[in-house]
């Protein structure tokens, strides 16, 4: 937990934060509304004798009392997908609608992509991209198991994501997106409860390196979004260098602004300063979720609108 010392002054009740990071995480699943309702899932868990509790902040998140939700009928049928509670935040904030054109820029292994497809009711196009081919096969497996048919899978570096493959005959580029999710690669500090070795290899250099990639991915995401469209940026880490500093960098260079959104989980606002750096005050509209606030993993989510 050594690297977390630097958050002592920004996290309220730092001791409770560290305590929570030491505890293992409750198992949760997301109901896949393409195949089942929460009521059907609960009835199936009742039949299997598996205990559960619905999350009060999200109608499709269910905490389950089994270590192997994958070996239950609701999972075999793709009615549920094992997914950490906080991992459902960005899809809920992006809230795509049926018929939208949506990009998930860093999509593998597809927990959030399949959630986006469900929010779209499998109508409209979801482009799920990742630069890692091996992880893309896990994404395809998950999409198929959950019954998604509106996903187009691409294998690109998101920093230079191309619209060309989707160009109609005679056109040079395919259409821009209505909504884009950037669930960026990150230093994963917030997954410590699931992966006790998440901090192995942590260093400020590593953080700085990833932040460079994140900036490139978010800038490209804004460029491929239509005017008035929305982009959600999320990470599962606390490091301000990978969160508010990335937003600050992009706000300065691309035509976009941060927007408010509701989140029915306890959270903190984005940090407007870190060490000696002050950020664009808009970054306060981002939200930080710490493990001790709701007994979850840690997460960071910001919503941007591309200016018309």
């Amino acid at each position: 937990m050594e690297p977390f010392e630097r958050y002592r002054d920004v996290v309220d009740d730092f001791e409770a934060f560290i305590d929570a990071c030491r505890r293992s995480l409750p198992m949760a699943v997301r109901v896949n509304t393409l195949k089942a309702t929460p009521e059907q899932v609960e009835r199936a868990f009742d039949e299997a004798g598996v205990g559960y509790e619905r999350a009060d902040w999200h109608p499709h998140v269910v905490r389950v009392e089994t270590d192997t939700p994958g070996a239950t009928w609701p999972s075999i049928h793709g009615w549920v997908h094992g997914q950490e509670e906080v991992s459902t935040i960005p899809g809920t904030v992006l809230a795509p609608e049926p018929g939208d054109r949506v990009l998930d820029a860093c999509a593998a292994p597809g927990s959030k992509a399949t959630q986006l497809a469900a929010e779209m009711d499998d109508a409209g196009t979801l482009v799920a991209n990742d630069n890692n081919l091996g992880r893309l096969s896990a994404l395809r497996f998950n999409c198929e198991r959950l019954g998604v048919t509106n996903v187009a899978v691409t294998n690109r570096d998101a920093r230079n994501f191309s619209l060309k493959p989707f160009a109609a005959g005679g056109e040079h580029e395919g259409p821009q997106f209505d909504r884009v999710l950037v669930d960026a690669p990150c230093s994963c500090e917030g997954t410590i409860r699931k992966n006790p070795d998440a901090l192995d290899g942590w260093s400020e250099d590593h953080v700085a390196g990833i932040a460079g990639v994140q900036k490139g991915i978010l800038r490209r995401a804004i460029q491929v979004t239509r005017d008035g469209g929305q982009v959600v940026y999320s990470t599962c880490t606390f490091a301000p260098e990978e969160n508010e500093a990335v937003l600050d960098h992009v706000l300065e260079r691309e035509d976009c602004r941060l927007v408010d959104y509701d989140l029915a989980l306890e959270h903190d606002d984005g940090l407007t300063e870190w060490r000696d750096t002050e950020f664009d005050p808009q970054v306060a509209k981002a939200k930080r979720v710490y493990p001790h606030q709701n007994d979850t993993g840690g997460f960071f989510t910001a919503k941007l609108e591309v200016s018309a």
Binding site: R43, I76, A123, E144, R145
Partner: protein, 167 residues
């Protein structure tokens, strides 16, 4: 007639009259196959397009895309053609099999557990031989599990290794 190119997705021709690639299934043949085999009406697929990538592998995609398109995936693998007996995928059957009115095997709890574990089992049945939908009751409804091959009084499970589970 040209050859199938395994590296890209090509939309299926609507009918045989529009076929340009040798041996390629048509949209009409695909939806008719689901209607003949499982009683699933062709209108079920009105909002979907069908694509071939890799010889005989048919994919189902919600909506449309330019054809051909060279990307990693387009919708869901749906049906295996270019062989004597066409074979639906587990995922397609799980997604669309609730609508089936024939060639559905309703399994007991124990039979369903053996089936999803990949085991073959002898079960008396008076329907057609060939690929069938194995289903069971879950939360009060008949729910498809996967594809079985029924021959000589035996239901063979074709649930792929990666989807087999011991419940």
């Amino acid at each position: 007639m040209s050859e199938n190119d395994g590296q890209r997705f090509d939309r299926l021709p609507a009918t045989a009259a529009e076929r340009e690639v040798d041996g390629r299934a048509t949209r009409e043949e695909v939806v008719d196959w689901w209607a003949d085999r499982f009683g699933i009406s062709p209108e079920t697929f009105d909002d979907h397009t069908f694509w071939e990538k890799g010889a005989g592998k048919i994919w189902i995609f919600a909506g449309d895309a330019p054809s051909p398109i060279t990307i990693e995936g387009l919708g869901m693998t749906f049906l295996r053609t270019r062989q004597e007996h066409w074979k639906p995928t587990t995922d397609a059957v799980q997604r669309f099999g609730r609508l089936a009115t024939k060639n559905v095997f309703e399994l007991t709890d124990e039979q369903a557990e053996r089936f999803v574990d990949g085991q073959d089992q002898e079960i008396p049945y008076d329907g057609d031989w060939g690929y069938v939908i194995a289903a069971h009751e879950l939360a009060g409804e008949r729910e498809p599990i996967g594809v079985g091959l029924y021959v000589y009084g035996e239901l063979k499970s074709t649930v792929p290794k990666g989807r087999q589970r011991s419940v």
